[in-house]
Amino acid sequence: MPRRNKSIVASLTLVFFGIASLVASEEARLVLPQTATDSVELLFQQHDTPGDSFLQVYVGTPEDCCASRTPIVGSFVRSGDRASFRPKFPFLEDQDYTVVWRSLSGVTQRDVFQLKGNLDINAPQLTAIYPSGDVLPENTLRFYIHFSQPMQPHVAMDYISLVGPTGEIDDAALMAFTQELWSADRTRLTVLLDPGRIKRGVGQNLSLGPALTIGIQYSLVVKPGWPTATGKQQLDEYRSAFTVTDSLRSLPTVDSWQLEVPRAGTLDPLVIQFDRPFDREQLEYAIGIESASGELVRGSVEIGNAERLWMFTPIDPWGDVALSIVVDTRLEDVAGNNFQGLLDHDVGSVRTGTDQVQLSFRPIPVVLQ
C-alpha cells in the first residue's frame, strides 16, 4: 500500500459534502500522522476550537471502538485554527488506530489509520557472495553471504548447499553451527567449509576427503523461500558458480604484492595488487597507511578484482613524504592462511609472532614545469 499524501483529507462531515452552503462552519479537516511520532491534527476554518474531548485516539479499528475503551495517553494542544494530539509513546507500525473527533457542531466522526512498516515492502535480495571470484582455491575456507535486509536465523542450513557438477549435494561440505555466524544487523552470514575436510590427515579429511576437487565446477546454492526476519517476504533462488583451482598452501607475504604508487599532491589512489584473493571482510580494516610518526592517513578503501586488489583514496592529497602500508598479520587469504601461519600447519609448528608487517612507499614527487 502506498504511503498517504502528507495533507490527506481523511474525512469530511456528511453535512459538508451534502449541503455545504448551510453549514460552512462545519468545515474541518483531520490530518493523520505519517510517522510514528507525528501528531493527529484537526484543522478548523474558524479561530474557534471546540471544547473538551474534541479528539481522541484509540487502539484498534472502529468496529472495536470505543465503548468501555480508554484513549491513548498523550498531550493535547489547541491554538488558533488547530487542535492536535501527540501520543506519549510512538504509534506502532502496522497497527490500526481509530481517531474519534468532533466537528464544531458536535457531529462525531471516526477514522482509522495505520502506519505501514518500512521493512518488507520489497522482497529481500542476496546482494553479494564473497569470495566473489569464479575461480577459487581447493582449500577455500569461508563464504560471506550478504542480504539486503535482516533474515530469519537458525534456518540457514535448510537453504544453503554446495552443489556439485551433476547437481549432487554434499551434505557434509558446510559447517552446521548451533549458533549461526551473523553480523549484528543479521544481513551478513558467514558460512564455513568444514575445516576438518580441508586440513589434511585429520578425521573428516581422511573419511570424506576434501569438499572441493581441482578442476571441477561447483555452485553455492540458496534455495528459494528463506524468510526475512519478520517472515513477511521470502528470498528467491540464488546460485553462485565457481571452478576449483590449486590450493593455497604458502604463507602470504607483502613481498609478492605490486604497488601502483600515487603522485604527491594528488588524490590518486594507492593500488595494491595481491598475488591471491584475501578475506573480503578483513580487507576492510586489516590494512592501513601510516606516516613515519605512526599517524593514520585518512581515506576510503575499495576492494576489487575478486579480492585481489586493494585501493586507497586519501581524503587529503598525498604529501611528499615516505609512508608505510601497515598490515595486520592476522589478515587471512581465502583459505584462512595468515602472515603468521598456515591454516593447515603441522601440529606443534611455531607461528611467527609479529602483529604487523610493513611495506614502505613514497608518493611520486611531481616536477613542476
Binding site: 484509540y58 487502539v59 475503551r69 480508554t70 484513549p71 491513548i72 506519549k88 509513546f89
Partner: protein
C-alpha cells in the same frame, strides 16, 4: 514484589553510568526497564532496571492520604493498560505492582513492546480506579548502579522433564537471560535498600545492601541455603520475595525461594563480601513464590505469600520465633516433592482460599489487599481489592448460601 519478564526482543544499551551518580534536577532518568517495585514508608518508589543494572529511586513523597482508603477495582486491567499505551494487550508485559503507602494509589511497572524495541512505563490506578501514566521524566530521582551485574547475553540451560527433551515452551523459557533475574525483589527497611537476585562472576544468588539516600556504597554477598525438597545446598537460584522482621529478638530477612523453601538471614550477616549460609526453617515442596506481603489481621502480624502453583500461604510471625534451622542431618530419609509425607515441613502456616491466581499482590491500606488476579474461568486479568482476612470474591462459587430456599434463621441446628 515479584517480577515476571516475558521473553521478547528488546533493545539494550551498553551505556553504563557511574556508580551512585548524583543527579541535577533537570536530568531525566535514562531508565530502560521498569521492573521490580518497592515503596519506602513515605513514598519513595524504588524501581529495578534490569537492563542498565541499576535501582532508580523516584520521589513520590508529596502525595496526600485519602480520608479513607477505598477499594480499587479495574476489570481487564491488561487491556486497559494497553489502551492507554497505544498497543494491543499482547504488547504489554506487566512487570510488577506496588501500593503507595500514603496515597493508596496502585503503581504498575510495564514494558511497552513496539515493532523494534521496548520502552519502560509506569502507570498508577488512582483511588477513583482511573488509570494514569506516571511521567518518570518529570520526577526527582536518584540512581544506584549495581556492581557485579550480569551481562545481557547469558541465558538459562534448556531442561526437559525426567529425561525428556525440552518442549518448545521450555526452550523459550531457557532463552530468558540471567539478567532478567538480577533484580528479583527490593526491600526497603529503615534507611536501607536490600536487593535480591543473581550476580556475576563469583556467585549467582546474591543479596545486595545499600543505604538510601544512595551514596555509592553498596555491599554484595552470596547466599547459600539448604533446599529440603531438592535435597541439596543451592547457590544459584535467587531469592524471589522477602521481608524484614524482628524474629528471635533480632532483625532478620525472611526470604522465599522457588520449590519452595523459606529461609532466615540476620541483617548483621549481610556485610560486603560475605558468603551467607541462610537458615532454612520451612519448605513447601514445590512451586514458585510470587509476592510476600506483611500485614496484620486480628492483632496478629502475618505474612501472605503467593505462589504460581500453590494456594497463598498465611504465616504468623509468632510461629517463626524459635524455628529450627533444618539441615540434611535433620531429614536423613530425604523429602522430595509434594508427595513426601514430611512436606510441608516447619512453621509453614496455613494454605488459604484464593479464587483465581494472584500474579501481583500488595496491601491497600490496613484492611485490604489489592491483587492483579487471573480469573480461572475467563482467563481475564483483573485488579481487585478485597478484605485481607478473606481476600476473595464470590462470583465463581455456588454454595449452600446461594440457594433461594436458604434461610439463615431456620437452617441452624
Amino acid at each position: 514484589m515479584h517480577l515476571t519478564i516475558k521473553a521478547a526482543t528488546l533493545v539494550v544499551s551498553a551505556s553504563l553510568l557511574s556508580v551512585g551518580q548524583a543527579h541535577a534536577e533537570d536530568d531525566v532518568p535514562a531508565i530502560q526497564f521498569a521492573g521490580t517495585l518497592e515503596f519506602s514508608e513515605t513514598g519513595t518508589l524504588f524501581v529495578g532496571d534490569n537492563y542498565t543494572g541499576s535501582i532508580y529511586a523516584f520521589d513520590l513523597t508529596d502525595g496526600t492520604a485519602p480520608d479513607a482508603v477505598l477499594p480499587v477495582n479495574v476489570g481487564e486491567i491488561d487491556v486497559k493498560l494497553a489502551d492507554v499505551l497505544g498497543v494491543p494487550p499482547s504488547a504489554v508485559a506487566i512487570n510488577d505492582m506496588a501500593t503507595h503507602p500514603v496515597t493508596a494509589e496502585v503503581y504498575i511497572s510495564v514494558s511497552r513492546i513496539s515493532n523494534f524495541g521496548s520502552a519502560p512505563a509506569l502507570l498508577k490506578i488512582t483511588q477513583a480506579s482511573e488509570i494514569k501514566l506516571v511521567d518518570m521524566d518529570g520526577l526527582d530521582f536518584e540512581r544506584q548502579a549495581l556492581v557485579n551485574y550480569p551481562d545481557q547475553e547469558t541465558t538459562f540451560r534448556p531442561r526437559g522433564l525426567m529425561g525428556n527433551p525440552p518442549t518448545a515452551r521450555e526452550l523459550a523459557n531457557a532463552e530468558n537471560t540471567l539478567s532478567s533475574l538480577a533484580i528479583m525483589d527490593i526491600e526497603y527497611f529503615d534507611g536501607e535498600v536490600f536487593v535480591s537476585g543473581v550476580a556475576f562472576d563469583n556467585f549467582l544468588s546474591t543479596l545486595r545492601r545499600m543505604p538510601f539516600p544512595f551514596d555509592g556504597a553498596q555491599s554484595i554477598t552470596s547466599v547459600e541455603m539448604y533446599h529440603i525438597a531438592h535435597e541439596r545446598y543451592e547457590t544459584r537460584a535467587p531469592i524471589r520475595a522477602m521481608a524484614v522482621k524482628e524474629i528471635d529478638g533480632k532483625l532478620q530477612l525472611v526470604a522465599s525461594y522457588t520449590c519452595s523453601p523459606i529461609v532466615l538471614i540476620s541483617l548483621d550477616e549481610i556485610v560486603d563480601g560475605a558468603d551467607i549460609s541462610a537458615r532454612t526453617i520451612l519448605d513447601y515442596g514445590s512451586g514458585q513464590p510470587l509476592d510476600m506481603v506483611s500485614y496484620s489481621v486480628g492483632g496478629q502480624e502475618m505474612l501472605f505469600v503467593t505462589n504460581n502453583s500453590r494456594s497463598p500461604q498465611v504465616i504468623p510471625f509468632a510461629g517463626l520465633n524459635g524455628a529450627q534451622a533444618l539441615t540434611p542431618e535433620d531429614i536423613p530419609e530425604g523429602a522430595t516433592g509434594d508427595m513426601s509425607s514430611l512436606l510441608p515441613i516447619g512453621p509453614s502456616g496455613k494454605a488459604v482460599m484464593f479464587d483465581g491466581m494472584s500474579l501481583h499482590i500488595d496491601n491497600l491500606g490496613d484492611r485490604l489487599f489489592v491483587s492483579m488476579t487471573r480469573d480461572l474461568y475467563t482467563g481475564r486479568l483483573n485488579l481487585d481489592s478485597n478484605a485481607n482476612f478473606f481476600p476473595n470474591r464470590l462470583h465463581n462459587l455456588v454454595a449452600e448460601f446461594d440457594f433461594p430456599q436458604y434461610d439463615p434463621e431456620t437452617v441452624k441446628r
